[in-house]
């Protein structure tokens, strides 16, 4: 085995560097036993992933996997495919965490965008993503979703905002978001005039923006 075993508490001291590993072990042990892991910020956990701390990835998985699994299943209607993508996203996070700049955007935002892109690609049989999405765009979400309570509140807010939309606007938003359809494709699918579809979606995103920011 090469390198430090960051997650175990057993450690033989043979060289000075082993003392450093032992300290890292103790830090990890204290983090787990005091519940600090669960309260650590996304940015702190990302930094620990960059330092190859597996337990930090486990915490982020526990924090966001449910959210991502839900959107993947809604898009794909295929549990196996959804779980493949879910695992792949977190594996990509493990490999490319150093590319993530917490000052440019929020992690759950990134994860949701990547999950949706990959699911839509799978749905439409496009080539899978290249794996460089962490560098592609800034994603700024209107809330901190690091706690499960905040996530629950945000879920309620989003569902409430969508339910307030007129049926045809909500249907257009869902066709675009969950099926990845453009204006033109929605018009072809529903048989509605293109101009009508554009107006519906424009009005819907204006209303959603207002309701989500209130």
């Amino acid at each position: 085995m090469h390198g430090p075993a960051r997650t175990g508490v057993a450690c033989k001291i043979r060289y000075p560097r082993d003392c450093v590993y032992l300290l890292l072990e103790l830090q990890s042990f204290v983090n787990v036993t005091t519940g600090m892991d669960a309260r650590a910020s996304d940015a702190a956990l990302i930094q620990r992933i960059v330092e190859r701390d597996e337990s930090a990835l486990a915490v982020l998985y526990d924090r966001y996997a449910g959210m991502l699994s839900s959107v993947l299943n809604r898009i794909l209607h295929d549990t196996q495919a959804a779980e493949e993508i879910l695992q792949d996203i977190f594996y990509q996070l493990w490999r490319t965490a150093a590319n993530f700049d917490a000052t440019r955007g929020s992690l759950p935002g990134w994860l949701m965008v990547i999950a949706r892109n990959r699911a839509i690609s799978r749905l439409r049989r496009h080539n899978p993503a290249s794996g460089d999405e962490l560098e592609e765009n800034t994603v700024v979400i209107p809330a901190n979703l690091e706690s499960s309570v905040a996530q629950t509140q945000m879920i309620g807010k989003v569902r409430g905002a969508l339910e307030k939309l007129p049926q045809e606007q909500r249907a257009a938003v869902e066709l675009a978001y969950f099926e990845g359809l453009t204006h033109t494709e929605i018009a072809a699918k529903t048989g509605d005039p293109l101009g009508t579809v554009k107006t519906r979606l424009r009005t819907a995103v204006q209303t959603l923006k207002k309701n989500l920011s209130s």
Partner: protein, 262 residues
């Protein structure tokens, strides 16, 4: 709207939603490439649009996904799985005579090396699996230790939940510690209908009920939920409702169990 910024705010949301196509899409992409202000607007639009996904019915992943992920990353965390370099071989110019005698010895040595290498790979795989298991064990131990601490704390309250009229027969008990922001639910309920789930709620003194967990009950089995809650939150009751499969953001179904926090 100006000539410098020929797009309205909602255009960015439509782009992030993937609704734009053709010339509209190309024009926005070309403009964003050269405009920092619009790049920022697009980032915010991506975030707003990403939140739409939260409206999807909640479907938790199976535990196997996390186990596979942890095994996968442990296998890469130390850079194992070495590479072979194929070196150009020199043509032996004086390979003759007594040196042929070394060939069987070298062959045997090479076989032994391959055997050792394969054995090392096998051991590495076992070590990786053990490390992943160890990570999970440590998390479980920490969680159990925290639970034991909470159970022994003087300020932990016991809430007995009683069944409601014309609802499935069941019983449950909640141990709640407001200061530590922690609760443990132990209950037994009959299996929920195929399209339904049980959902546990904490009802705070102020504000709407907060979902603590969604569970499917097994016939004759018990359910146990340990959850973290905001420390210091004052809860007046715990309740279990019957909701559409996967749970809801707010209670909509009938109350199955209810227990006030005294």
């Amino acid at each position: 709207m100006t000539n410098e910024h020929p797009f309205r705010d909602e255009d960015f949301d439509l782009y992030a939603l993937g609704a734009l196509d053709g010339e509209e899409k190309r024009a926005l992409e070309a403009h964003v490439d050269t405009c920092d202000g619009c790049t920022e607007k697009l980032g915010q639009a991506y975030g707003r649009v990403a939140m739409i996904g939260l409206a999807a019915p909640q479907v938790p992943p199976s535990p196997g996904v996390k186990e596979q992920l942890m095994r996968q990353i442990v296998g890469t965390s130390t850079g194992r799985g070495g590479t072979f370099a194929v070196m150009p071989s020199k043509k032996p110019s004086t390979f003759s005579g007594w040196m042929w005698a070394l060939v069987p010895l070298a062959g045997g040595f090479a076989v032994a090396l391959v055997f050792l290498w394969l054995h090392t790979l096998q051991l590495d795989a076992q070590i990786d699996a053990l490390k992943a298991h160890e990570v999970e064990q440590e998390r479980t131990i920490a969680q159990e230790r925290e639970e034991i601490d909470m159970l022994g704390a003087k300020d932990t309250v016991v809430v007995s939940m009683s069944e409601q009229k014309q609802m499935p027969q069941g019983t449950a008990r909640v141990l709640y510690n407001s200061k530590r922001g922690m609760m443990v639910y132990n209950g037994a309920l009959p299996a929920a209908p195929a399209d339904k789930s049980y959902q546990l709620w904490a009802v705070p003194m102020e504000g709407a009920p907060i979902s603590v967990g969604v569970f499917e009950s097994m016939e004759g089995g018990a359910n146990r939920i340990m959850a973290k809650m905001p420390p210091g939150m004052q809860v007046k009751a715990f309740a279990v409702t019957l909701e559409p499969r996967g749970g809801m953001p707010a209670p909509t179904g009938p109350f199955v169990l209810m227990g006030p926090v005294s």
